[in-house]
Symmetry: C2
Subunit: 516 residues, 2 copies
């Protein structure tokens, strides 16, 4: 057994079932080891951003890490943006990055770079293995670090010679890291704040947005009248019919500050106090009202479910609550397609337990409010703000949940960053329906240009935010990568196309042409 | 005038004419400043790898830096792979990376990351500006550092508030860095070695591969009988009819070692002694013969032209030489298309002064030897080994040289990494002919798998190196991004398609279907 085989065997024993791969020469032994392992699945992405984004989507839905296989420093770089999103979302991932054989580094061959340096800004944990035997031991540690509640990005750098040298064999899984619990005195403080009867809110993120935790939040709301809010960009929000509904904080800072205005007590569980996504001249960065008491009860790494349950019990909240979302379907739309038409069709047609991957940007503003009462689902968001997340995350979610429909709500500009994900959907026959919101623009940036104070933009500025010259033909792009596709220009056409896509099992793309 | 305007004005005054941009909110002031500047050109790329690769292609052909506009740490990450190639090729680039306003960093907003940390492994010079006034001064330094002979990757990080705050105005260009000259004693040593009459070679790279430097090499060859060799992956080789021909070192280490076998004296100018691209079990890393004297006369940062001229004069070489390449056109091919058929058509049809961007990988092995006698041209190669270079570099070369035909020889697997470059070719109506070598495979990796000792690969390993399921339809992909395209399955079809593409002025893609 060589080091690569010992590593892959170790990863499998520790619970890793899939390796999303974009390998090169320095990872060939690892490819051979995946090949040799009877149960480890290998999934090819045609670009590293697809690989890391897929691992993020997988991690969010499986609550267990996939592995990635990346090619030296530049390969890591290509995957960094989606690792940034994963790190911000506390999604579990184990990156395996090949590097030159240790004795080859002195030659400074063309692909030589500082792999650890490249990995560190985008990883929670980084290690370079020091021997063939160390690969397996470090692999077990990497999985344990990736599983650190609720998840983390662990990067293991594997010099090529250790992959092909003899090794003793697989390592035992490393002990699971303990999950920190909330401080009892802060629980008591939060309970006291909620008991004042002043306008209050639970502000939730991370694992506090899963169904079981939301039920505890519902108990608290029942007992105290607190509102239940969440981060603008949450890792995975479980919502829809029968679940406790959550208000989502608006994206733009001043709208978010307005939204929070009037609250006197805000309790944070699984989330930090919200701040503006960017600074703007003369606009606030801190969004909570200045006269509100903000209590950081549990950050994302503290057990959210037990924190909420303890808080509910401390408050003497009833065991049941009346907060469950009722079914609600907006009326069907007709005529020229706009985002509301997309949302109405989705709310009507979405099957039970779908996974919604939301990178719809400005076009998606209508999606969230109009779909709160549709069939129960998981809603995945752009946690790190680094675009190119949606299609790859859809790949990963579909592999984690083969029996659930995945629906990618995808802005056109963002889709182009990692458009190669469509090919993996076709190859793996993934049950993903992709809706492309084609407004032929980085629409958000036209807003942002004005917000930073750059008024009266000329044609050069506008052209840098515009995708209409030439128009991207999403149907042809999708066909070119093997995913059947159709274009819809009216609400009726869109509804029919979405219905068909949701009824078949397999990849399909619907271009929502929003240009009127 | 704000900091962004002062910076853009400074870059222009220092010689920067183009900014390849993929901006986000933190770069909106810079977009507005480009807009306001009467002469700075902005070119949009739909992915940062396109932006940085275009800057690399531009820098190689213009011998002056373009600027890039990148969005925080993840945006830099997306561009890192092509910056790695540029850094390895000593190509001049000035990256401008937006970051959060300085006072916003404490909030740790979702897009916050260690931008300097992300940039350092892929840059020769990194600086974060400390004030609005510093932006212009640092911009002038960044250009001077990027112009450090023969070129370097300089990364300037621009906090958003300094871009919108008032600034004094543009800074004067910084003094050009001195170009180091070769050590006289080593010149004398090289001359003495060449005079021994033993089998010898000039091993050239970087600026030693430009026409004027090669003429000096021709004089030396005339006087001493030395062979003229070059790196496997050179930044920019000027060759073709009337120029001094150069032998290119083979890619695979053992073939390269065989190729150098028998040489007793090797003089390195603009290049380091060659090493294997990767380590392989039991194969050599150092490629020069053990009994050869290797003289490192000038590394890539030492003046190549003056070094070669001084060496030629020291040897008393004649002012002229007889080494100029004669015109040679291989016979036309017919029937099933293979790489030789592509090469024959290219050699016949290539117009004068074309720029060839070579990322053809295994399919390109036939290209170089069969095209040595075609019309004079520049040949750009994958200096850092990080794939996804070709199409973006074609964009940049076409913008640097609007009156020259650019021909991208592009492997299919590599093309997918930065396929968004086709859209920029269409938008800017660039005179680029792209030839996609469609073998539906990472063909090189099938070879590498065996070379690292992984024999008898199974279906899982092979599937991770295969692009045939589904087949990528390059004609549809290209149409989807606005570039007219055609597929050729025979040598005759390919010749006709290439002829038409070279005759029009504008972007065109020809898919060379090599699957037989």
């Amino acid at each position: 057994m060589n080091g690569a085989e010992a590593l892959i065997d170790t990863l499998y024993k520790a619970g890793v079932r899939v390796c999303f791969a974009n390998p090169g020469t320095s990872e060939m032994q690892l490819v051979a080891a995946i090949d040799k392992h009877p149960d480890m699945r290998g999934v090819l992405g045609l670009f590293e951003g697809v690989v890391t984004g897929a691992a993020d989507g997988y991690g969010r839905m499986a609550d267990a890490p996939a592995a990635t296989l990346l090619h030296l420093g530049p390969g890591f770089g290509n995957g960094a943006a989606n690792l940034h999103n994963a790190r911000r979302g506390h999604s579990p991932i184990v990156n395996i990055v090949g590097d030159h054989a240790t004795y080859h580094r002195e030659f400074d061959a063309p692909l030589t770079s500082d792999v650890e340096g490249a990995a560190r800004p985008f990883s929670n944990w980084v290690k370079t293995s020091a021997s063939a035997d160390a690969l397996a031991v470090d692999g077990a540690e990497a999985v344990a670090e990736a599983m650190r509640y609720p998840g983390a990005v662990a990067t293991l750098i594997a010099p090529a010679n250790f992959a092909w040298e003899d090794a003793k064999g697989a390592a035992e899984p490393a002990p699971r890291r303990a999950v920190p619990q909330a401080d009892e005195t802060i629980v008591a403080k939060a309970a006291a704040a909620l008991k004042t009867g002043e306008p209050s809110a639970l502000f939730l993120g991370g694992m506090a947005l899963r169904e079981d935790a939301l039920n505890e939040a519902g108990r608290i709301a029942e007992a105290t009248g607190a509102r239940i809010l969440c981060e603008t960009f949450a890792t995975r929000l479980q919502r829809g019919e029968g679940r406790v509904p959550v208000e989502r904080l608006p994206y733009f800072g001043e709208m978010a500050a307005d939204y929070l205005n009037g609250l006197k007590k805000i309790i944070f569980i699984g989330a930090k106090p919200p701040v503006a996504f960017f600074a703007y001249p003369g606009k606030p960065g801190w969004l909570s009202p200045e006269d509100a008491e903000t209590i950081e009860l549990a950050d994302a790494r503290i057990d959210a479910l037990s924190t909420l349950r303890t808080l509910a019990d401390t408050l003497g909240a009833p065991k049941t609550h009346s907060k469950a979302q009722q079914k609600f379907t907006p009326p069907p739309m007709s005529g020229k397609l706009d985002p509301a038409g997309v949302a109405a069709a989705l709310a009507e047609l979405c099957p039970d337990d779908a996974v919604i991957v939301d990178e719809a940007a400005t076009a998606g503003l209508a999606m969230f409010p109009m779909t709160g009462g549709m069939a129960r689902h998981d809603w995945l968001m752009l946690t790190g703000g680094s675009i190119g997340f949606g299609l790859p995350a859809g790949v990963g979610a579909a592999i984690a949940c083969p029996d659930r429909k995945v629906i990618c709500l995808q802005a056109d500009g963002s889709a182009m960053y990692t458009v190669q994900a469509l090919w993996t959907m076709a190859r793996e026959k993934l049950d993903v329906t992709t809706v492309i919101f084609n407004n032929a623009s980085y629409a958000i940036l036209n807003i942002e240009l004005a917000r930073v104070g750059a008024s009266n933009p000329g044609p050069k500025a506008l052209s840098l935010l515009d995708l209409s010259n030439p128009m991207i033909d999403w149907v042809e792009l999708s066909h070119g990568m093997g995913v059947p596709a159709v274009r819809a220009k009216t609400a009726e056409e869109f509804r029919a196309a979405l219905k068909e896509a949701l009824e078949i099992k397999g990849p399909r793309l619907v271009e929502a042409d929003l240009r009127g």
